[in-house]
């Protein structure tokens, strides 16, 4: 029960899609508080295109990430298309050789995604963006890998780290994007991108836990 097979990726990807779809309204509400309220719609667009196009296809985890990433990157536009597109495509690239994914492999994939993101955006931890969710999730997986923690426990720890990261944005002042215009007034609510990133990571973890072999 310590291995996730790349070949078992389809249900995990579809779980991520479903999570975004189910949280469309919620993400809109979160973005509405200090952003412009469209984050749910923006996210839902690309993920639903992926679902429509690939729900009847076979694909591995890394292939699915690649296809989803390509759709986001090429077809969606906005900022979220390139941002999440880059994360998923870089994860896919880092994982395309893996047949079996264990904690260390997943950590490497997610770290590649984070690094890809950091190449295109300037935001750092503390700037109230999705980086605040993604970075601690990567850290948690790396720590679990180095400490030899089991996959299921590592995924739970990663979820907790992502949630804590998301929650940490509540007390931050936005430095990038629309909310940054509010300055101090952006404090006190979650960041929309950090929230959607947490939803994605948790859905991924839940999906993997079900498929562990």
């Amino acid at each position: 029960m310590n291995t996730f097979y790349n070949a078992d990726g389809k249900p995990v990807l579809l779980k991520i899609v479903k999570a975004i779809q189910e949280n469309k309204a919620y993400l809109g509400e979160v973005d509405g508080l200090i952003g412009d309220g469209d984050h749910g719609m923006n996210m839902n667009k690309g993920f639903s295109v992926f679902e429509e196009r690939f729900q009847d296809e076979e694909f591995t985890f890394s292939e699915g990430l690649d296809e989803l990433g390509m759709i986001l990157l090429n077809e969606i536009g906005g900022s979220m298309g390139p941002i999440y597109g880059t994360i998923f495509m870089d994860m896919a690239e880092a994982g395309e050789e893996f047949e079996e994914i264990q904690v260390g492999q997943l950590a490497a994939m997610l770290e590649a995604g984070l690094n890809g993101l950091c190449e295109i955006v300037e935001a750092k931890v503390g700037d109230k963006t999705l980086v605040d969710t993604l970075a601690p999730a990567v850290e948690s997986l790396k720590k679990s890998a180095s400490e030899g923690i089991g996959f299921a426990d590592a995924l739970s720890a990663m979820k907790a780290a992502a949630e804590a990261g998301r929650d940490s944005t509540k007390d931050m002042v936005a430095k990038f994007g629309r909310s940054s215009r509010l300055g101090e007034r952006s404090r006190g609510v979650l960041d929309a991108g950090a929230t959607s990133c947490c939803i994605i990571l948790c859905a991924m973890a839940d999906g993997m836990i079900e498929m562990l072999r």
């Binding site: 469209d38 536009g77 906005g78 629309r178």
Partner: protein, 336 residues
């Protein structure tokens, strides 16, 4: 939200359909996608010029596609960049072998998406693409230090870049030359805006920010980005003076310079007020010994129904003057 629309999610699609209906002699679309607008008038061997960006700024961006200016434009949702695929479709359609120049505003999303399109055009289609990014809003950031990236927003001044580059391409200059002209225009244009009321993105349904009944925000961006100062509304002449001080000092524009001036309404501000502003700009520049070659007054780059205006100055030399004065014909810009 008080808008004459159908479903918010159809806003951009229906707007684009209306545009093709109204201007069939000038524009059409490619790749089966109404978001991929191209000129119907092709000039073989000419460098193609494409722009792109979110909707909600009409006549920007697409309204400048036509004869003597741009050849194509990819259009995103309101205030959202279009996708690389869409920009690529436009690029393929407008390239006639001489390469394509992208001219667009300095926004994260646009840069991500258009850089990707440019790469794909190069790798997959063997189309040489160069890019010039407009970033001339003096209120949005300090000037870039030598060698550093310009972090200023691109706003209405981009029209001057379109016009000069468009005329250069129309004169059959090479891609490198057209790019040089665009860069020269970009380097010599400065803009600043002021907003009086917010605008509402249709999909969002509520105003992007709140502002008091007697307040203005000087330096605000065309998506409602924070300005440099919010305060009580002042007389027009005083507002213009504050804005002109900032603009003129930035390049700087100096005694003896010759400029073109663009007074741009943001959406809800009547032309009357824009001319009251023009009057003050003229006396301000006269006092500084800066000569005005020509004025453009009206709505050139809006923020849906925001009230407010911006002022752009373009410093001219003989080359830019020639390109600025050249004829053009697009849905929103006709010059004889």
């Amino acid at each position: 939200m008080k808008k004459i629309i159908n479903k918010p999610e159809d806003y951009v699609k229906e707007m684009m359909e209306g545009l093709y209906i109204a201007h069939p002699d000038l524009i059409t679309y490619t790749g089966d996608d109404v978001h991929c607008l191209v000129s119907v008038n092709k000039k073989p061997g000419k460098v193609g010029i494409a722009t792109g960006g979110g909707s909600g700024h009409l006549p920007l961006f697409l309204g400048y596609v036509g004869k003597g200016m741009l050849d194509g434009c990819s259009v995103g949702d309101v205030f959202q960049s279009p996708s690389p695929d869409q920009m690529l479709k436009v690029t393929k359609e407008i390239d006639s072998g001489a390469g394509v120049l992208y001219i667009y505003g300095n926004y994260n999303g646009d840069i991500f998406n258009f850089d990707m399109a440019a790469e794909q055009a190069d790798f997959e289609e063997d189309i040489k693409v160069e890019s010039v990014v407009a970033g001339e809003d003096v209120a949005s950031a300090g000037p870039a230090a030598p060698g550093e990236k310009n972090t200023r927003r691109g706003v209405a001044g981009i029209i001057f870049i379109y016009k000069c580059a468009g005329a250069a391409a129309d004169a059959m200059l090479s891609l490198d030359e057209v790019k040089r002209v665009a860069e020269k225009a970009a380097a010599n244009v400065r803009t600043m805006g002021v907003a009086l009321t917010p605008c509402t993105v249709p999909r969002v349904g509520k105003p992007g920010f709140e502002i008091g009944d007697d307040e203005m925000e000087i330096g605000m961006g065309i998506h409602g980005e924070t300005g440099i100062r919010r305060g009580k509304l002042e007389p027009a002449d005083q507002i213009v003076e504050e804005m002109m001080d900032k603009i003129v000092a930035d390049l700087p524009y100096v005694n003896g310079d010759e400029v073109a001036v663009l007074v741009n309404g943001l959406g809800a501000t009547p032309l009357d007020e824009q001319y009251i502003v023009t009057r003050k700009i003229d006396s301000y520049l006269k006092e500084k010994g800066i000569k005005v070659h020509r004025y453009y007054v009206g709505e050139y780059a809006t923020s849906i129904e925001m009230a407010g205006f911006s002022i752009s100055l373009l410093k001219l030399d003989d080359e830019l003057k020639g390109y600025l004065d050249a004829p053009a014909q697009t849905p929103f810009f006709v010059q004889l």
